[in-house]
């Protein structure tokens, strides 16, 4: 296998899984975040129905991200998980609450408000924890030898709270634009009215995180503001500005599906920006992908499965989305 950089391929595979997770679970977590703005029960039924058939598949990408990290970069998995212990446990518990709410909510009348709170609260905790985890990784974690060496509150900082808030807002935007695409009538109008300020807030959050990041580590600064990094990096903010412009215009035009797709592009560009900052590290500033790589035989064995199966998975995931395409019928819900 000489010539092929297997760890680099694996890094892209994991990045793809994480990105797929962020945008796909992003919109269904986002839909839950918007529950407080839509108090009518019927609207909430329709909102939940719009994601009910796909949320489980969406969340599986998170398992692939974690499982892929375990398989291909076990050292990084072993360092990162204890470092992010508190936010990760909070995220898992949040996902438990909002996951069961999908089923429990339909099995009771009296407790419906309780599961609505579990749905929104669990999603909020999960989104916030994911953002905090991202910030904690970017600001750097203490590593000694082959293990995490920091305390169990190290993840908490103004920066990680900023990234936490940014992810919550961004997921809100994905959820709102998803609803614009999947619903009709009054609910669609309400989603549109939520999407506009959320788009502005998302943009503000991106700018804030982008401005703060280069000051965390000298390496980030070099990537973004010194040659030759700037050559790769400069197009990203430009593309981002252009996408934001198109997004605002599509929202002003009350377009059906363009706002959602442009929000996805916005997330994609942020993701590319992150990649530029941390490449080729897997624990930013501490461990590179090559240092953390599992033995080649492990990486190749699992990679064969990834290269064969992920295209198949994408195909049948697309089929599942196709089966439930179009607007959610508000009168004959299929949940």
């Amino acid at each position: 296998m000489s010539g092929l950089d297997i760890p680099a391929i694996w890094a892209f595979v994991i990045a793809f899984a994480v990105f797929a997770y962020v945008v796909m679970d992003g919109f269904d977590l986002g839909v839950a975040l918007l529950f407080p703005f839509c108090s009518e029960r019927h609207d909430r039924d329709v909102m939940m129905n719009s994601v009910a058939p796909v949320w489980d598949g969406n969340e599986t990408w998170l398992v692939l991200g974690g499982g892929g990290l375990f398989a291909a970069f076990p050292l990084a998995y072993g360092i990162v998980m204890p470092a992010l212990y508190a936010p990760l446990i909070a995220m898992l518990l949040g996902l438990v609450l909002r996951g069961v709410a999908f089923e429990f909510r339909w099995r009771t009348e009296r407790w419906k408000p309780v599961w609505d709170i579990a749905f929104t609260g669990g999603s909020l905790v999960a989104a916030l924890a994911q953002g905090i985890a991202l910030g904690a990784l970017l600001q750097g974690i203490r590593v000694e030898g082959r293990a995490y060496a920091g305390g169990w509150w190290d993840w908490l900082s103004p920066f990680s709270l900023l990234t936490g808030a940014a992810v919550v807002i961004g997921y809100g935007l994905l959820g709102a634009t998803w609803l614009v695409m999947k619903t009709s009538g009054d609910l669609q109008l309400r989603a549109l009215r939520l999407a506009r300020p959320l788009a502005a807030l998302t943009l503000a959050a991106i700018v804030a995180v982008s401005l703060a990041t280069p000051f965390l580590e000298g390496k980030y600064w070099q990537r973004w503001f010194e040659m030759p990094g700037i050559l790769v990096a400069a197009p990203v903010p430009l593309a981002l500005a252009g996408t934001a412009l198109l997004l605002f215009r599509s929202l002003a035009d009350a377009h059906d599906y363009k706002p959602f797709l442009l929000s996805l592009v916005l997330f994609g560009l942020c993701f590319v920006g992150l990649g530029i900052s941390i490449w080729p590290d897997i624990v930013p500033g501490r461990v590179t992908i090559h240092q953390a790589a599992a033995p080649e035989s492990s990486q190749i064995f699992a990679l064969v499965g990834v290269l064969i199966l992920v295209p198949i998975i994408i195909a049948y995931t697309a089929y599942a989305y196709w089966v439930f395409r179009g607007k959610v019928d508000p009168d004959a819900g299929y949940h």
């Binding site: 058939p53 398989a71 072993g78 438990v96 996951g99 305390g151 009168d331």
Partner: protein, 468 residues
């Protein structure tokens, strides 16, 4: 608050707690997914309404059980790293790829087709819907395949080497996946899942028969469950026996703990039925034993010598009382399952399957037995693996994350509170669904939503056409 506990013990309690909650749901959903596939196939084949009604009845329950299995399973996929980071670093190159394959071949398959299975019957047509149900059932089996391969490798590691960093590195993937205890464990666990489901289905049927709601559906599911029990329980006992002999070959101290054999027996070992194992004194107090029977069961020879824990260094002993008792609970319940199946067969032969109330009471009481047996079996095999994570090679105490006890303790409390809340609610909803008798015109998981007057699926019309 947690100063008196060490982080290793807390991490173990947390893992055992989250794992025990998790295992209940796959054990149920592996069996139930297959049952649903059988019901849908029978409906398509015979065109009889009762199978469709039962399919929809159990589908609602499956949806809840599956959701709880998914969310508690996601927790497990991160617990390795959060609580056992040194194990993850060292064993990751071997077990990580196997778990990645589980995600790729099983989780996506289940998740991708679950939506269609639950909500898509009126969108994709009957043939494709049957395919979706079959794929979900297949996914649950594939998932069991990979995770049991991982577990079995930790019990009987083969096919690996060790590199400079102290990591286990794969040398022969075939030997790793099909390690010596894997085939036995896979068969034993999958059969356990089938038995667990049969007991739950049988108990639900028995409940409705006892309440005088002997609808065609209630009779059908009770009858199917009793057939399943009498067919699978004997095979399971045989599989368990073979698994035990395999364990004796590869992990003798575990069998010594299961049997309560602190001392070696050069001239045939007794079978200790009951007693109170005392680990410190290395003896079983008040032992009720049958001479030489243990040698007969394990070696098929009355006088075969059997070594005891006195041949094993004390620091490598598993906690004997736990293993000893959990093993007896599992075996006892297994024998009761066989008894229920046999009584059911006799009742059927005499034409009393739907009338004989003692049988129904027995079946109802046995409803949770599968779950208890599965948990007891897992305790036997996992506690019996101690004090190692990778048997004989990596100690549990050397596998744990560098975490402060308060962090692990606080998260343990959070898990306990939220799990008990969520799972109590889930059990309540499942039991409430079961307490309604299955009936003609049963609705699927879309219940709670406005349904069109024509019915949510074309099935009733089709079925009506088939049976004028």
């Amino acid at each position: 608050m947690f100063g008196d506990f060490d982080a290793v013990l807390l991490a173990r309690i947390q893992f055992a707690f989250t794992m025990s909650f998790h295992i209940i749901f796959p054990a149920f959903s592996i069996g139930l997914a297959s049952y649903l596939a059988v019901l849908e196939a029978l409906w398509l084949w015979t065109g009889q309404d009762r199978y469709l009604n039962l399919f929809k009845y159990w589908l609602k329950i499956f949806a809840i059980a599956f959701a709880m299995g998914v969310v508690s399973g996601i927790v497990m996929s991160y617990q390795f790293g959060t609580n056992w980071s040194v194990f993850s670093d060292k064993a990751g190159p071997v077990v990580g790829p196997l778990m990645a394959y589980e995600v790729l071949t099983a989780f996506f398959l289940e998740a991708g087709f679950l939506g269609v299975m639950l909500f898509g019957m009126n969108r994709v047509g009957k043939g494709l819907h049957m395919l979706a149900t079959g794929l979900v059932a297949t996914g649950t089996f594939i998932s069991a395949f990979w995770i049991l391969s991982v577990n079995s490798w930790m019990q009987t590691p083969t096919g690996h080497g060790v590199n400079d960093q102290g990591q286990f590195v794969p040398l022969d993937w075939w030997a790793i996946v099909f390690n010596p205890s894997f085939p036995y464990r896979l068969v034993h666990m999958v059969l356990a899942a089938y038995l667990t489901t049969a007991l739950v289905v049988g108990a639900a049927g028995a409940f409705h028969l006892l309440r005088g709601r002997a609808s065609q559906e209630a009779r059908t599911m009770f009858s199917m469950a009793m057939w399943m029990l009498i067919c699978v329980a004997p095979v399971q006992i045989l599989a368990g026996d073979l698994h035990g002999i395999n364990t004796l070959e590869h992990q003798p101290p575990k069998v010594m703990a299961m049997e309560g054999h602190f001392q070696s027996h050069p001239n045939g070992a007794p079978l200790i039925l009951f007693g109170l194992p005392d680990q410190a004194a290395a003896t079983v107090r008040y032992a009720l034993e049958i001479p030489k029977l243990s040698s007969l069961i394990l070696k098929h020879d009355l006088n075969a010598p059997l070594a005891g824990l006195d041949t094993v260094p004390r620091e490598n002993w598993p906690p004997v009382p736990i293993v000893f008792w959990s093993f007896r609970i599992m075996v006892g319940l297994g024998l009761l399952m066989l008894a229920l199946g046999a009584v059911g067969l006799v009742a059927r032969w005499r034409g009393g399957l739907y009338k004989w109330r003692p049988l129904h009471v027995f079946a109802l009481l046995m409803g949770p037995a599968g779950f208890v047996a599965v948990l007891a079996g897992w305790v036997t095999t996992e506690v019996g693996r101690q004090p190692f994570t990778v048997y004989g090679l990596l100690r549990t105490a050397d596998s744990v994350s560098p975490l402060a006890a308060p962090a692990v303790g606080a998260s343990l409390v959070a898990f306990a509170v939220i799990y008990l809340f969520v799972f109590a609610a889930g059990m309540f909803y499942i039991l409430r669904l079961m307490s309604h008798a299955p009936h003609p015109g049963e609705r699927g998981p879309e219940q709670g939503q406005p349904v069109r007057t024509a019915g949510i699926t074309p099935a009733p019309a089709v079925a009506a056409g088939a049976n004028p």
